[in-house]
C-alpha cells in the first residue's frame, strides 16, 4: 500500500475516534447537571399558576420521563444515543416536544450558515490583508496606528460591542432594525425580501466582522508577518533588490497562509455551533440561540444534536486540513 493511502486511512481513523470522544463528552456533561427537563417542566407548570388536578401531576411526571427517553440506566441511554445517531434520528426536542430535533436544526441552520460564512470569510480576508501589509511595513505610521486600534478593539467584550452597535445604528441613527431575522410578509423571491434579510443580518455581521477582522485576524497575521520578514529567505530576496510587492507576494504570503488557513478551516468548522452571544443580542434565529435555549432548558437531545453537528463540522475541517497541508506547504511530506 502506498504511503499516501496509509496516511489518508490513519487520518480517517483519527477523525472517527475524535468524533466518538467528542460525542461521549457531550453525552456525559449535560447528564451530570443538577436538573432534569421533566422536573423543570413540572416546576414551570406550578410557577405559572395553572390549575392542575393534584393526582394528575404525578402521572404527568411519569409519562414525561418515558417520552423524553430518560428512563433506563446511563449505559442504555448512551447506546440509545448511538443507535439513533447512526440512523440519523436525533430524537424529539424536549423543549419543543414532540418536534424532532432535526426539524428545529433545519429551521435554524440556514440563518447561521448565511450569517457566519459571510462574516468569517470577510473578517478573515480583511484581517489578513491589512495585517500582512501592516506587518510587512511595520515601521510605517499607518501600521502603528492600526496595531494600536486592533490592540484596543480586540479585548472589548463581544456583548458590549454588540449593544453599542445596536444602540447607535438601530436607535440613535435608525438605519438597521433592532433584531430578528426577517420582517416581511408573504413568500416568494423578490428584491424586497433580499434587502430585508440583508438589513437584519447587517448588524450581527458587523459585530462579528469588526472584532474579528481588526482584532484577532489582524493581530495574528501582523505578528506572523513581522516575524517571517526577518528570516533569511526574505532578507535574501530583499537584498536581491526585489520590489516589496514581489517579496510580499512570492515569499511571505505562502508562509503566512499556512497557519492562517488552518485557523480559517477551524473557524469555518466552528460555524455549526453558531455565534451564541451575537445571536442572543440580536434575537437572530440561528443555531447559537437555539443551543443557548437548549442549555437553559436542559434539552439533552437538542444539545446533542447541535454539538454533533459542530463536532462533525470542526473534525471534517481538521481532516481536510490535514490532507491538504502538504499541498499548501510543500516542505511537509505525507507520512
Amino acid at each position: 500500500m502506498s504511503k499516501l493511502l496509509i496516511f489518508i486511512a490513519s487520518r480517517i481513523v483519527a477523525f472517527v475516534l475524535t468524533v466518538v470522544i467528542g460525542v461521549t463528552v457531550v453525552f456525559i456533561i449535560p447528564r451530570l447537571l443538577p436538573y432534569n427537563p421533566v422536573e423543570a417542566q413540572i416546576g414551570f407548570i406550578y410557577s405559572i399558576g395553572q390549575f392542575y388536578d393534584p393526582t394528575a401531576i404525578e402521572s404527568l411526571r411519569q409519562t414525561l420521563y418515558e417520552l423524553y427517553g430518560l428512563k433506563g440506566n446511563p449505559v442504555e441511554q448512551y447506546l440509545g444515543v448511538w443507535r439513533r445517531l447512526l440512523t440519523l434520528d436525533l430524537g424529539p426536542s424536549i423543549m419543543s416536544f414532540p418536534t424532532p430535533v432535526a426539524t428545529l436544526i433545519g429551521i435554524a441552520l440556514p440563518w447561521t450558515l448565511g450569517l457566519l460564512t459571510f462574516s468569517v470569510l470577510i473578517s478573515w480576508t480583511l484581517g489578513n490583508v491589512i495585517g500582512t501589509i501592516s506587518g510587512f511595513f511595520n515601521h510605517k505610521k499607518f501600521s502603528k496606528l492600526l496595531t494600536g486600534v486592533a490592540v484596543v478593539l480586540y479585548p472589548v467584550p463581544y456583548f458590549i460591542l454588540a449593544l453599542v452597535l445596536m444602540f447607535t445604528f438601530a436607535f440613535l441613527i435608525p438605519i438597521f432594525p433592532l433584531g430578528g431575522g426577517i420582517t416581511i410578509v408573504g413568500v416568494g423571491f423578490s428584491l424586497d425580501l433580499v434587502l430585508n434579510l440583508a438589513k437584519h443580518a447587517a448588524l450581527p455581521a458587523i459585530s462579528i466582522i469588526i472584532p474579528g477582522a481588526l482584532g484577532w485576524w489582524f493581530l495574528s497575521s501582523f505578528t506572523l508577518t513581522s516575524q517571517k520578514k526577518t528570516e533569511d529567505f526574505v532578507r535574501y530576496a530583499e537584498l536581491k533588490g526585489l520590489p516589496n510587492g514581489v517579496v510580499l507576494r512570492r515569499y511571505l504570503i505562502r508562509n503566512i497562509l499556512m497557519p492562517q488557513t488552518t485557523a480559517l478551516g477551524l473557524a469555518l468548522g466552528g460555524i455549526f455551533s453558531g455565534a451564541l452571544l451575537t445571536e442572543v443580542v440580536y434575537a437572530y434565529p440561528g443555531l447559537g440561540r437555539l443551543l443557548y435555549q437548549a442549555i437553559i432548558n436542559n434539552d439533552y437531545n437538542m444539545i446533542m444534536g447541535i454539538s454533533l453537528l459542530s463536532i462533525l463540522g470542526v473534525s471534517l475541517a481538521t481532516l481536510l486540513l490535514d490532507l491538504l497541508y502538504p499541498l499548501i506547504d510543500p516542505t511537509v511530506r505525507y507520512r
Binding site: 436538573y35 422536573e39 416546576g43 407548570i45 405559572i48 399558576g49 395553572q50 390549575f51 392542575y52 393534584p54 401531576i57 402521572s59 411519569q62 409519562t63 426536542s93 414532540p98 418536534t99 428545529l104 433545519g106 429551521i107 441552520l109 440556514p110 450558515l113 448565511g114 450569517l115 460564512t117 459571510f118 462574516s119 515601521h139 496606528l145 494600536g148 486600534v149 490592540v151 445596536m166 445604528f169 438601530a170 436607535f171 435608525p174 438605519i175 432594525p177 433592532l178 433584531g179 430578528g180 431575522g181 426577517i182 420582517t183 410578509v185 423571491f189 433580499v194 434587502l195 434579510l197 438589513k199 447587517a202 443580542v281 434575537a283 434565529p285 440561540r289 437555539l290 435555549q293 436542559n298
Partner: protein, 736 residues
Amino acid sequence: MNRKTSYIAISTALVLVAALALSAVPVSYGQLPLPAGVPRGDVLVIENHWGTYANPNNWNPIASPGVGPASIAPGGSGYQQLCKAFLWYINTSNSMLIPWIAAEPPIYSPDFTSLVVKLRDGVYWNDGTPLTAEDVVFTLKYLKEAPAPIGVNEKASVKDARALDRLTVLIELVSPNPRWHYFYAVIIYGAGGILPKHVWQGKDPQKFENNPPMCAGPYNLRAVDPAGNWFLWERFDNWWGSKVFGVVPAAKYVLYINHGPDEAKALAMTKHELDALRTLLPEQAELVIKNNPYLKGWRASPPFAWPLDPCVKGIAFQTKTPPFDKREVRWALAYAIDYRTVYRAFVGIDRSTPTPAALPVIPHAADIETYYIPLLNYLKDHGYDPELVLDIARENNAWWVEKYPVLGWWKQDLAKAEQLLTAQGFRRGPDGKWLLPDGTPWTIEIKTTSGFEMESQRIAFLVADQWRAFGIDVKVTPLESGPFSTSYSIGDFQVGTFWPGCSQILDLYANWFNRWSSKYWVQKKGEGGHGTGWNTKEAPIPELDRIVDELERTAPDSPRAFELYREALKIWVRDLPWLGFFPTPFYTFQDGYAWENWPTFPENYYMDPVSWWSQHLFVILKVKPTGRAPTKDAIMDPKPLRVANTPLVKIASAAEWESLVGGPPPAVGVTTVTLRETVTQRVTELRTQVVTQVQTQTVTTVDWGVLSGVAAAVGIVLLVVGIVVGRALGRRRPAQ
C-alpha cells in the same frame, strides 16, 4: 438541507454586501413585518415575551404542556389571546366569571359529581361550522383517550360526557369536585380550550400540527416569521362575537413580536414599534419613560408599574431540611430581615412602589377586605406592623395608602430573632457568626433566578446581605429557568426565591391549597412525604388536611369556603413556610401614541393590563386608534364591549337537577352567594374612587448630552491608547 434552506442561506450571505452599502440609506419605518401598504395605525403591536419560537409552525395546543407557540403556557404567539375557544374567563380583578362560549356559569349537581354546561347559541368556528355541544364532548373524550401526558386532567377527573341537546353538555365526574370547570376557565395563563371536532377528528393528538390553527376568535393567523420571532394576526370580520356582542375590534392586524433582549424592547417602545410590553427592570423602564411622552402603564401617568402581579415574590424555605424544618428558625430569619430596605430598593424612578403582601394572597382590594383586614389582629400577634412602610408608600402616592392603610410586614426584631435561635440551640461563635446547634458554622445557600424574573434575584441579594449582617454566612446561587424550576420541583434547596403562593383569585384552594394536603404528597424512596410548594414537609398537618377535605365538598365562593380559607391562612402564618414580600411591580407599558383606551387605573380599569394573559383579548377588543399614526382599515370608533360578570358556580337543588338532566331544561333557580356580591360592590367602589395623583412631568428628549459625552470619552480614550501603543511600538527603530 432542502431547497428553501439553502436558498435562505445563500441569499442571506450574498446580500450582506448590499446591506453594508445600504447602511448609508436611512430607513424610518418598515421595520415591522406587515403586508405591503399596511399603515402603522392599522396594527396593534404586542410583545412576544416568550422569545424566539424554535418551531413556529406547530400550533398543536395539547401535545405537551408548556411547549410550542400554541401551548397553554407561553402567551407570546397570540394564540391564547386571539384564537383559542374558551368556555369562560375569570375576571382577576374581582374573581367573577365571564361566560364566553358558555352561556352561563356551570350548573353542578347538589353533590358535585356532575355538571351541566350550556353553550351560547350562535357561536361559530371561523370557517363557519357551528360550535356545539358535540365539540365539547369530542374534546373531553379525545383528551381522555389520547396517550399521556395529553389530557392528564381529563383522565383523572372525567367519567363520561354527553350532549343533552345541541347546546347542553352533561359531564359526569370521577369524584365530587366543585371546581372542575376551572380546567376550562381562563384563570390567567390560559386554560383548556374547545377543539373543533371537524378538524381534529381522526388526527394523531401528538403529531397533528394544526397549522394554521382553526380559531373561534376575532382574528385569524395571517403570517408567521420563519425565524420564530413574530406572528401576525388579521381581523376576521365574520367573527361570532361581532354578532352576539355587537363588537368589532378596531385593529385590522395584531402583531406579536420579539425584538430581542430587554434593551431592544425598551428601544422599540421609544420608537413606537411596540404598543404593549410585559415588563422591564425599573432601570430599563427609565429609558422608556424618559423618551416616550405618550407612555401609559397601570396608570395613565407615573407611577406606572402594575403592583398586583398574581405571584407574591419572596423567599421560600425547604421545610424538610434542618434547621429550616423548625418554624422558630424560619421566624427568626423573618425577624432578621429589614423589610423597609428591601421595599425601598424596589421604589422605581417613576415612584412606583410594590404593594406589601405578608400573606400569600395578592392584595387586590377584594383580598384586603376578605383576608388582610379580618386577620389583622392575628397578624399583629406575630409581629406584623401595618405601618412599617406606610410613610414610603404615602410619599410615593401608592394606590392603597388612603383606603387600606393596613398593608405592612413583619417588623425587624433582631433581639427576638436572637432569642428564637438561642432557644433552638444555636449560638454565636467567637467571631460573632452563628453556629448550628451541632457547633458547625451556619451557611445558608439561597437559590435564585438568573436571566429571568430578575426582581427575584434582587430580593435574594438584598436578603443575603441582611442575613450576613445578622451573622449568618449566606451564599447566593443564581440558576437559569431549567435548574431553578427543577430544584423547586424536587425540593433540592435550603432557601430559594421561589413563589409557591400565586393567587389569581379569591379561591385560595385553586391557587395552592390543594397541594398542601398530605394525601397529594408523593412518596419518594427513603424519604418522607414530599410535594411541591409548602409540602416539602416531613409531617402532615392534620388540621390542614381536614380543611382541604372539606373544601373539596364546598362551593368555592360560599361563606363557609371563605371561613376555611382564612383558617388555612392562620396555619400558614403560624408555620411561615415561605416569606412573601410583595408582587414585584411590572412595568406593563402601553403606548398611547397609536392606540388609546388602554385600561388605566383607576379611571378606566376594565381589565388588568397584562398582554400575555388570555384576558388581554378584552383589551384588544377595546382599544381605539388615536389618529396619530396613519390608518386605512382600522375602525376609528369601535362599539364598547359589554360582557356579564357572574358568580363562579351555580348549584342546582335536587329537584332542579332532576329536571335539568331528565327532561327539557326549565328555568333553574340559582343559589347566589351573598358575600361575593358585597365584595364585588366594594371593588366597584374602589374603581370609581378618584385617587389624587401628583403629575410628574415627563422629559421627552434623549439625554443627548450624556450620550455624546460617553461616545466622545470612549473615542478619546481609544485614540489616546492607540497613539500611546503606536508610539511605544515605534520607538524601537531598526538599526540597519
